[in-house]
Amino acid sequence: MNFEHCFRFLADRLRDEVIVTSAGNCSELWWEITGETERVFYLEASMSLASLFAAGIALGSAQRTVVALSGDGAFCMNPGMLMVERQLALPNLKHFVVANGCYGSTNELPMPFPEFVDYAAMARAAGIERVHEFATLEGLAQALDEIVTVPGYIFSVLHVEPLGRRARSPPLDGPELKFRFGRYLERSGGPAIFDVPLPIGGKRPPLP
């Protein structure tokens, strides 16, 4: 499916979820389409950890659905994430691998053997029960509500074509992103993140 159409569809449908995007096209295209600066953490600085970063958020935020968008280049750097995510089995974590078979933000240099690698099969082999794979927007449209709204960890592969152009990085410095995202989580019902009591002499003081 067309990468941009896919992300425009996701951006239109994922209105309430917390989003974590991995380095490269996932961050760049989500930013280009949405311009969002609060409920999205653009984890542009690191490949391969977006879904585990999202898992950390989901771990203490049972009331939220957290969506991770990882590129296939990022996924291949750390496929062991599947076993950790299975172990966590977080009902509010939804992991999408965006598979375009190339390193999109670095001039779309091809990944080795993308035609043979089966990410969905890898997830099933890791014991993940709810695995989806979509090559068309229509298929994704039919399943997305169930993926997002029915509790349970889900791993989904989105087969997209290379973007075919460069997209802009979000123009946000790291600390600005941290505070925008964290303050959004705090004021939308999450626990205190920044202003928590710190341990003194080995003991954490009681909450005021």
Partner: protein, 170 residues
Amino acid sequence: MEAENPVAASIVEAAAGCGISLVASLPDGWITPLITRFAKDSRFRHVAVNREESAIGLCSGAFFSGIGALALMGASGFLTCIYAITKINYTYQIPLLIGITLRGRPGDPAKFHQSNGLYLEPVMRAIDIPFVAIERGADIGRLATAYRHSRVMSRPVVIGFTREMLRGEA
């Protein structure tokens, strides 16, 4: 039957005392009793990762759900995390407590860990990551100091456990 390990128990109590409730670990032989202790303690969610960088990613995300976290690993594993630490924790200024073994120091009989004795601490200095050595049982309280320092400076802090301390010999 597993022998009681008072050092592991003390470290676990220190972690609980400062509000840590998530421990992500990958084993090193020196800290298997400690990892086991964390895994059995209902005050903690213990996650066994299969790559040390995954512990950095998971614990860094947990910061945004208000969870106190400890990434626990061997010295060699820590050295594989430089990319994740400098790109995630430094770029976004996300605090994190990282516990490591001080492999390769005099007294470590493992020849294959001697490179850590040579390069571990220089690498930590090279990336300006604060380092707190826990060399004696009396130092275990410094875990809370290191955790607090990480929060205050919004950067990761490393605590390093010596072999003698972990074995209850210092």
